[in-house]
């Protein structure tokens, strides 16, 4: 599993690992039930502290995206536990604010943003 880390962005490394794996799961590049690299292997490959990998996997486990099985490994969760509606809306709302602020700053508008969301959704769909 190839993950590019940016050591100088100030973003915590475990978050970068979490985001990279979340994206892969969202794109369907790794499937439900598929085994993810072991903590040791991923740490060696990314040249980061194995505790950082543990932290990332634990966070994904808490979010219900992966299942950590003692002694067996880490697997992509089969049915992702959906967030309660208010939590879900809150999280998406935050992301929407960020997206719209960015769009205004680069001189874009709502129509273009919606168009891009559609296109991106199609892209992700075809990769599945």
């Amino acid at each position: 599993m190839h993950i590019s880390l940016n050591h100088h962005s100030g973003d915590p490394l475990y978050r970068q690992v979490v985001e990279a794996i979340r994206l892969r799961i969202a794109k369907g590049e790794v499937e439900a039930g598929e085994q993810l690299p072991s903590i040791r292997d991923l740490a060696a490959q990314l040249q980061i502290n194995s505790r950082t990998v543990v932290k990332a996997y634990e966070e994904l486990d808490r979010a219900g995206l992966v299942v950590m099985q003692q002694g067996r490994g880490v697997f992509v969760a089969s049915n992702r536990a959906a967030l309660p509606a208010n939590e879900r809306r809150k999280r998406l709302h935050e992301l929407a604010v960020k997206l719209l602020v960015e769009a205004t700053q680069v001189g874009s508008n709502l129509d273009e943003v919606i168009e891009i969301i559609h296109d991106t959704a199609n892209e992700l769909e075809t990769k599945k």
Binding site: H7, H8, G10, P12, Y14, Q47, N49, R51
Partner: protein, 309 residues
């Protein structure tokens, strides 16, 4: 950290040279497998600290301990430590193989295979004599001797000096590997912050011989931000939630590098917050090196800025 979980510990470690205090009341702990980076400008006491840790210098006060045993006088635990310190140089005519042999005499865990392959990869023949090596090759040879020694603790002073980028990455990759695979602890003084950011678990910033900051790097990444707040914002609004590391008033805003007191608090917003973003270790380091503005003076400067509008 429990007693057995501490590899290196300093307690009120102080050292002066002829009345000039170089290091004062330094208290640090380092656990197994950690890579600790010491940052600070030249002359701040980094090298002195490393020498005190590795038993090459006597403390004026306080002590350094390795695995619970005082470093001065050096204890029997010293064979578990490998150092590459400033100004180390084998006698004229010494061969690379002899440097390695010397290490293998001290440590029965010396890994000849690793030593030979790391030398060969860098076009260093073990038959070469010390004075024929380039600056970078000399540095690499000493590092290889330390890395292959099987030591449980590596103490390295500016190890990347004279190494090119690729070799520096290789070195830090090897430190990480030894940490993950064998739980090897490293204490590294460096002024190349980009390298430190790549490898360190914990960061210590020294200023005027004292510890200004000691924190896990991932925690800093979680908790440190540069925030932009309305110009009239007083520090007292920030301080219950975060430590102000550095602040300045620019045009119509207060710009502050702050560290939230917990990850949980970092989710909250300040009144009228304009923006926030994460900062690199380099920016954080510079923020720590800025003299703190006394609030009154900051106020005045803010007013002066307002008037100029």
């Amino acid at each position: 950290m429990t007693e057995s979980n501490i590899v290196m510990e300093t307690i009120d470690l102080t050292r002066d040279f002829g009345g000039k205090v170089v290091l004062e009341d330094v208290s640090l702990t380092v656990g197994p497998g950690e890579i600790l980076a010491l940052l600070g400008p030249n002359g701040v006491g980094k090298s002195t600290l490393l020498k005190l840790i590795s038993g090459m210098l006597m403390p004026s006060r306080g002590e350094a301990r390795l695995w619970g045993e005082s470093s001065w006088p050096p204890s029997a635990e010293m064979y578990r430590v490998a150092c590459v310190l400033d100004g180390m140089s084998p006698p004229y005519g010494t061969r690379v193989s002899e440097i390695m042999s010397l290490k293998s005499c001290v440590s029965h865990r010396f890994d000849w295979k690793l030593a030979t392959s790391l030398c060969e990869q860098h076009q260093i023949s073990t038959a070469s004599r010390w004075q024929t090596l380039s600056k970078g090759q000399k540095r690499w040879t000493l590092l290889v001797a330390a890395l292959a020694s099987g030591a449980d603790l590596l103490v390295l002073d500016e190890p990347a000096d004279g190494l090119d980028v690729a070799t520096r990455r290789e070195l830090y990759g090897l430190l990480r590997e030894q940490s993950n695979d064998r739980g090897v602890t490293s204490i590294v003084a460096s002024h190349i912050i980009a390298d430190v950011e790549r490898v360190a678990d914990d960061v210590v910033i020294l200023a005027n011989g004292r510890v200004r900051l000691h924190s896990p790097l991932e925690q800093l990444r979680d908790e440190v931000f540069e925030v932009e707040l309305p110009i009239e914002t007083d520090h007292s609004v920030i301080t219950p939630m975060a430590e102000v590391i550095f602040s300045r008033r620019a045009n119509d805003a207060l710009i502050a590098v702050i560290r939230f007191r917990s990850l949980h608090l970092a989710e909250q917003e300040f009144p009228g917050e304009i923006s926030r973003h994460r900062v690199s270790l380099e920016d954080l380091y510079l923020a720590y090196r800025q003299p703190q503005q006394p609030p009154a003076q900051a106020e005045q400067q803010g007013l002066a800025n307002e008037r100029s509008h």
